[in-house]
Subunit: 417 residues, 2 copies
């Protein structure tokens, strides 16, 4: 619990707005989302002007080019943000669905109905598109949102939040459905993690440091997202061409994402053929191979792997590679080092495939496909707020249905126990 | 994270046993449960002898009669514990169920399959029946369990844990499916709350102090159970006889439970008639009425209510009573003071009933029935490990299905993105 008055006030407002938003019709929510999408494009110039302030400050503070690129907003990106919001409008309203229902012997009618989580706090880093994206997903799922973005994007975020709040208010819902924390110091973030009285769920979006800090400090329930030390295991009965193509895709199609492959495990019986074929593909994008002794014996230019490599999410053109004696060793290695995100087996063997999907207990377990498919859009959920790798509440893509809880509604006519 | 070596060892063993238990067949798990039930009754004498040690220590330390009664085990109670385990055997295995499945346009077959949570830690107080109960529910749902009971019951718990572990091992599953923490100091409990590397979920079972301490200190995800400041609202269009009967049941049938009614809200238009009829019922069990000024003006012997009373879970023959101007005031009062457990409206008015179930956002919302029905058995779930009043993962009774998570299994034939 915290006595931070600034946050108490924000929390109180979020809770109050939640009463109206949680029972708002799909029509009302979609109208607000449409107003937001329109307002963002109409106010693009103002937003871009504020974003320039962040960019110059970022340059002064020595942000890397990659970070500056993530921070940057232009007309094209704002149009993309608006069209992502319109895609959310088209998705099913996840609230108010009856999941199941029973009539008890005493005549009580019990139904289980989806409801919003309530107030969601999202802590993220310097990507201003997250501001609009998280706000829209929360609004559609009937949740009021408290956004806390990185200080590098504060001017952009303030401009976007102002535009979105005005649009919501005009559409008839309370502006406080979306609130931005304008104090970007660490103490305020730490206090937000203890705002249990008002916040139902906290979602961190960002790097390992941010997520670890939230897990260690939050007394508010957390949906933990985004760490992906994903493995692919090439079984002795693999189609080697397929394996090479899948590994190239999983490693090199986009290296900065959580569903990219970080470690490759290869069965010893096919290690030589497989590794040569795989390296041929990976060479197209100059992927560095970091391997154990057996890998070093097969391939040239391999950097020796240390214990640390097996636990590292490179998010880079680097791949850790290990030769294993059998599928059991592969499964044990995954159990030890995986972050429970996504793992894949490449095999033509039915028994090996079934063993792998039964014994590997990650959020998404694949047979003969790239780990890159762990994604809300690819799963057919539409938009998502992240990929969960905890076991409570949600695993894998966190889409709109995963941003709801449920309540039991019990209709009686005088029953006592 | 903690560096407590004693707990690291327990955590490691729980994780290792989890590998085998999580994929065990229903048959193997039921066989283990049957062995446990049988062993507990066969070893009743030893367990009772150990329980006597706890009872004498408890008497010396001045435990109340109520607490000593909860602590006490005799033949009858052990037979009850065994038969509760046999009821769990009869329930459906919640693991390995396909919840949904889709075929994507690219040919990927995605299915969502239930899996155990993994390792569950349960922290509870001095009720030795919880030891067997929690262990059996976790085992049936494929979760290994780490039990940490109160020091008052340590001898009873150690005896029961030993008997259960031997029985499991004989049945062919690892003894470490069930482990008891034998160190009952607070530091070890605090360290358990930070054992993220091995524990997937922590469930506190006990009073408000215990739950608050777990919520404030645990970095392991928590399923929060058991706080029930439950309300009944008697609408102006209520059947007064029904209201009186339901309130009598909800308040006085068992006062020490979380689904008992603690506050009664009555619409001003029928306050006089309703309160007289309700008091007549409550007088049968000498329930003390703590009321606002309007209640005091209607009934004799009312203790004036303070602000604190609205937030108190009495767990006693006491009822806080308030006269409200309308249903909106009732709903606002509930939103302010409720612990989101169970609330009920008594009314013949369709509109009021619908408004109440839509706008009151507790785990269980009733029309014309007693709040006492919020219970796994009464909901038809069979056994439960508690009643959740958080919004993440589970709300209401936590039965076997709620002790599972899920994973996505994706079958492909070479798909890349």
């Amino acid at each position: 619990m915290t006595d931070n008055i600034y946050l108490q006030d924000i929390g109180q407002k979020a809770k109050t707005a939640s009463k109206q938003l949680s029972v708002a019709s799909s029509e009302a929510k979609n109208k607000a989302l449409d107003a937001i999408a329109q307002a963002l494009t109409e106010n693009a110039e103002t937003i871009i002007a504020e974003n320039r302030k962040d960019l110059s400050a970022g340059k002064e503070n020595g942000l890397s080019d990659a970070m500056l690129d993530r921070l940057m907003l232009d007309n094209g990106r704002i149009i993309k943000i608006a069209s992502a919001i319109r895609e959310i409008i088209a998705l099913d309203d996840p609230v108010g669905k009856t999941i199941s229902g029973t009539k008890r012997p005493n005549g009580l009618m019990i139904s289980k109905v989806t409801v919003p989580l309530g107030v969601i706090a999202v802590i993220f880093e310097a990507r201003p598109n997250v501001t609009a994206d998280a706000a829209a997903l929360c609004l559609k799922s009937g949740n009021t949102v408290i956004l806390r973005g990185g200080k590098e994007a504060i001017n952009s975020n303030m401009a976007m939040a102002r535009v979105m709040r005005e649009a919501i208010e005009k559409s008839g819902l309370p502006a406080d459905c979306i609130q931005l924390i304008e104090k970007t110091d660490r103490e305020t973030a730490a206090d937000l993690m203890k705002l249990n009285e008002y916040v139902d769920v906290l979602i961190p979006r960002g790097g390992k440091g941010l997520i670890q800090s939230v897990v260690n400090n939050s007394t508010v329930p957390v949906i933990r997202t985004g760490e992906g030390n994903c493995h692919i295991y090439v079984d002795k009965d693999a189609d080697i061409d397929m394996a090479a193509e899948i590994i190239f895709n999983a490693k090199a199609s986009r290296v900065s994402v959580c569903n990219a492959c970080e470690t490759l495990l290869v069965h010893k019986d096919i290690a030589e053929f497989a590794l040569i074929a795989i390296k041929e593909q990976l060479d197209k994008k100059n992927v560095t191979i970091i391997g154990d002794e057996k890998v070093q014996a097969i391939l040239p230019d391999v950097i020796p792997a240390t214990e640390e490599d097996w636990g590292t999410e490179y998010l880079d053109y680097k791949l850790a590679v290990k030769v294993v004696d059998d599928i059991d060793e592969a499964i044990s290695h995954i159990a030890k080092y995986s972050t429970d995100h996504s793992e894949s087996i490449i095999t033509k063997n039915y028994e090996a495939a079934e063993k792998f999907i039964n014994e590997v207990n990650s959020s998404a377990v694949y047979i003969n496909a790239s780990t890159r498919f762990t994604d809300g859009g690819e799963f057919g959920f539409g938009a998502e707020i992240g990929i969960s790798n905890q076991k409570l509440h949600v695993r894998g893509p966190v889409g709109l249905p995963e941003l709801t809880s449920y309540k039991y509604v019990i209709r009686g006519n005088g029953q006592v126990r």
